[in-house]
């Protein structure tokens, strides 16, 4: 590469030297300024029309429902409980967000949680030191994820099918390990992590773990090169591959991560209930997927954000807690969660339709376009056409 310095910067400076052309940094600055001054109000308006704003409204509604249903709802200890109850789902929703943005899905997380729980109980009750047992469980979680990931990336199978299969497989393995036995005599040091709160507060310890992981994952998804590549893969897998992104390796990594975090959720679950059973967290994947989709993550990949998912986490948590306080059983609660799942997939489409209709009206009125808020700026006709075509043709 001796001549790389010459080839470097194949500058097309035909015009760059002319005074008329703004220098590159100036352009960037202009860009930022324009973005910043895009009108605080306009940006606020755009945000108000965003999915996150809708989620905030939903959260307020859920809180109102909660306080209407029970006098105990609006208490710190109830909120501490509410948060505690969401922790496993919250942890799994973090990795699920990344996987769905990358255009895949992992339905086996709750089964990995269950398997992790019984392996922890079994090895502990057979004399393995707890620290080693936890390490083993995390390793097994990662292996489960590896199985999913290999089947998806090396065999080219759809992740929906693969993880539907392993959903049954891993849960079955959990029953093989312990049948319908349970282990519950865990040491206090361990269960204190589950039940306990940060001294002097009502903050549950698992919540501390979640906040730490949520920060790491936010950084990963929204700031890191890996996150950028995940969005690129979810938006256009082929273009990502042509750009030199290791699509399969990244997907594999995400599945492994998902298995690992699901196993971690299994440890948390076991500690919280001081109970290792094969049917632990049965059906949790419904809530996890709902949380992620309601959080605004596109089921076809390519878009979504962790803040949205955290908001939706709170909505589901509050809703389940409120319904629970009103003595409504978990099975009935599922109706509400199922309805939210459909809403979350339907909602964005309806919002977009409405925006399109509004724009058509505006176009018909020949109204000045200058006043359009940034977020509401209307897609050019070709654009909506293309978007629709893409939706329709989500390939085969």
């Amino acid at each position: 590469m001796s001549d790389s310095s010459e080839v470097k910067q194949p500058a097309l400076d035909l015009d760059a030297s002319s005074a008329a052309a703004p220098s590159a940094p100036a352009l960037a600055k202009e860009d930022r300024r324009a973005a910043a001054s895009g009108g605080g109000l306009a940006r606020l308006l755009a945000w108000m029309r965003s999915w996150e704003a809708l989620l905030l409204v939903l959260l307020v509604l859920a809180l109102a429902l909660g306080s209407a249903l029970s006098p105990y709802f609006l208490s710190l200890s109830n909120f501490s409980l509410l948060i505690s109850d969401m922790m496993e789902k919250a942890l799994m929703a973090l990795t699920m967000t990344l996987i769905v943005i990358a255009g895949e899905i992992d339905l086996s997380v709750a089964s990995i949680l269950g398997l992790a729980s019984v392996v922890l109980g079994y090895t502990w009750s057979h004399g393995l030191p707890l620290g080693l047992a936890i390490a083993l469980v995390l390793l097994i979680g990662a292996l489960c994820g590896l199985v999913n990931g290999l089947a998806v990336t090396r065999l080219g199978l759809p992740s929906l099918v693969v993880t539907l299969g392993t959903l049954a497989l891993f849960r079955g393995l959990a029953y093989v390990v312990m049948g319908d036995q349970a282990v519950s005599n865990f040491p206090p040091a361990f269960t204190n992590f589950g039940f306990g709160t940060v001294p002097g507060t009502l903050i549950p310890w698992p919540f501390v773990l979640f906040v730490a992981l949520a920060l790491i994952f936010s950084l990963l998804l929204h700031r890191s090169t890996l996150g950028r590549q995940i969005y690129a893969i979810g938006s256009n897998k082929e273009a990502a591959r042509f750009a030199g992104i290791r699509v399969d390796d990244i997907k594999l990594l995400l599945f492994v991560l998902s298995g690992l975090v699901a196993a971690l959720a299994g440890v948390v679950f076991t500690a919280r209930f001081s109970n290792a059973r094969a049917d632990n967290a049965l059906g949790f994947e419904l809530d996890v997927v709902t949380i992620v989709l309601l959080g605004g993550v596109n089921i076809f990949g390519g878009s979504g954000s962790l803040p949205g998912v955290v908001l939706s986490l709170l909505i589901i948590g509050v809703l389940r807690n409120a319904l629970g306080l009103a003595d409504i059983s978990g099975d009935i609660q599922n109706i509400a969660v199922g309805a939210l799942l459909i809403l979350s997939v339907l909602g964005p489409n309806v919002v977009r339709r409405l925006q399109e209709a509004a724009s058509r009206r505006r176009a018909a009125d020949n109204g000045p376009a200058g006043g359009l808020a940034r977020g509401a700026a209307l897609p050019a006709p070709e654009e909506t056409g293309a978007a629709r075509a893409r939706e329709r043709g989500q390939r085969h």
Partner: protein, 507 residues
């Protein structure tokens, strides 16, 4: 060509003072256009000139804000594509949209299948009628074949047959030749002539002026949503037409620059991949543009894909700087300084939902990141740098590339690959589907890059582009190299003969 349309007659379809606005963009302004039975009327203009909006108004997709649409002299309002079809307007698309799993006949008659007395589909009659229809066009196509396996040209035929089966009186052909090989284009032209003889009114939308002047009796030029001129084709020259489109001379289309050709950077020896190409050998030098000509399907893109590590060769060698290399992935290729601007911009070149900046930095994320965290300042700076050098226009760096015109999108793809600081640049149809002004800019960029010492492999189906840009021209036919010409040797005829495999027999 024959005389201009009979002006006395009433046009089959006519637009009078049609305007259309999308948000801030005035897509069409006071446009008049008339189509007569039995005429081929060409509609030309740069991308963004308003051609597609006009086509969509005729097809009933958009409704004009102002102005009239007249059919046989009577004002009509088209509220939907279905209504446009009902009055006899059909659109033939560049990439036909058909039902891939249904057969040819089913596609032709989709939605208006012949029925028997009980209202059941009369299959026998359907197949017979489609066969007759295709025969009358002089086309041989098995009506029982599913559409999935058909070539673009055949699928267009299905669309044409479909239009005729509905008694279409107006046929709008939107860039019909963009994905066709020269021979398929010839076949299509034969059919267009037949349709003309059947008194169908044809609106022919195309970038390719040589086609326009072969087919059309009248030409309408749009620029910035306005009609610049409508004139009989014999009163216009291609040069004049281009001037009307862009206000620029045709000579400016292919800027070429003499570059000092240096040492061999890339060498390919006896490269083969089963079923796509075999025994391909060539050398590419620093500062050289090697044109790779051939018909669609000759295996050119397939060679490029192997060089970029998308596919693997089964035998043969690739040498970079004289050393044999193994390229198993695009990452490997990038490590050897190879960049590939792919043929399909939307599917392979860009992440359409990403901003200009994010697309440009997608292949160099490590360079805009510290500890794997992306520094947006750095990212915007690099992106602004390339966007500025390549003169990407039409949007801020933070806007999605989806909203850009084809030419500007292509510049973003180029920027993305130049950002990797490559030494070998493979360009696959770099000017396909972009307007003439942007094309000239892309040509200028390519020639400038070669002058800076890049080794460029230029794949193009446009002969004038190949001949004007290349230092040497390599020609492929059905997976084999059939010719290698120096700049002085190469001319249209020789390259075409090699591309069709004709020169083989004589040797």
């Amino acid at each position: 060509m024959e005389v201009a349309a009979p002006q006395a007659a009433v046009p089959v379809i006519e637009l009078v003072g049609v305007s259309k606005r999308f948000g801030a963009i005035q897509a069409l302004k006071e446009v008049d256009l008339s189509l007569y039975a039995g005429e081929v009327h060409a509609l030309v203009g740069e991308n963004g000139a308003g051609k597609s909006t006009l086509v969509k108004i005729l097809a009933g997709v958009h409704r004009p804000d102002r102005g009239l649409l007249k059919i046989n002299g009577e004002a009509v309002e088209l509220r939907s594509p279905a209504q446009a079809q009902a009055v006899g307007i059909a659109v033939i698309h560049q990439e036909p949209t058909l039902f891939p799993d249904l057969d040819v006949a089913e596609n032709v008659f989709m939605g208006h299948q012949p029925r028997d007395r009980l209202g059941r589909i009369d299959w026998r009659r359907m197949y017979r009628e489609v066969e007759q229809l295709l025969q009358s066009l002089g086309v041989e196509l098995n009506v029982y074949l599913p559409v999935r396996g058909l070539s673009v040209a055949d699928r267009q035929l299905v669309e044409i047959a479909r239009a005729l089966s509905q008694d279409a009186r107006v046929l709008i052909m939107d860039e019909p030749t963009a994905s066709l090989s020269p021979r398929e284009v010839e076949d299509l032209f034969t059919i267009v002539e037949q349709l003309r003889a059947r008194q169908v009114a044809i609106l022919f939308v195309s970038h390719r002026l040589e086609e326009v002047f072969r087919l059309a009796s009248r030409v309408t030029v749009l620029r910035d949503g306005q009609r610049v001129i409508t004139a009989p084709a014999q009163d216009l020259t291609p040069e004049e037409t281009v001037r009307h489109m862009v206000g620029r001379e045709l000579a400016a289309l292919f800027p070429k620059e003499e570059a000092a050709v240096g040492e061999v950077v890339l060498e390919v020896r006896h490269l083969s991949r089963a079923g796509v190409f075999r025994d391909v050998s060539f050398q590419l030098r620093r500062g050289e543009i090697l044109g790779l000509a051939g018909l669609v399907g000759a295996g050119r893109t397939e060679v490029a894909r192997v060089l970029f590590g998308i596919d693997q060769a089964e035998s043969g060698e690739i040498l970079v700087d004289g050393r044999p290399v193994s390229i198993r992935s695009p990452r490997d290729a990038m490590r050897y300084g190879i960049a590939y601007v792919p043929e399909d911009r939307h599917q392979q070149g860009l992440v359409l939902d990403f901003s200009i900046a994010r697309n440009i930095t997608l292949s160099i994320l490590q360079r805009v990141a510290r500890f794997s965290l992306i520094r947006s300042r750095q990212e915007l700076k690099i992106a602004a740098d390339y966007a500025e050098r390549l003169r990407v226009r039409g949007g801020r760096l933070t806007q999605p590339v989806r909203a850009l015109s084809g030419g500007n999108q292509q510049k973003v793809v180029l920027g993305k690959w130049l950002a990797t600081e490559p030494r070998i640049l493979i360009l696959d149809e770099p000017t396909r589907g972009i307007d003439i002004g942007a094309k000239a800019e892309v040509h200028r960029i390519i020639s400038e890059l070669a002058a800076r010492g890049l080794a460029i492999l230029l794949i193009s189906s446009e002969l004038p582009e190949i001949l004007a840009m290349s230092d040497r021209v390599l020609v492929m036919h059905e997976g084999c190299v059939t010719g290698l010409f120096s700049r002085t040797e190469a001319d249209q005829e020789k390259v075409m003969l090699a591309a069709t495999g004709q020169n083989r027999q004589s040797r």
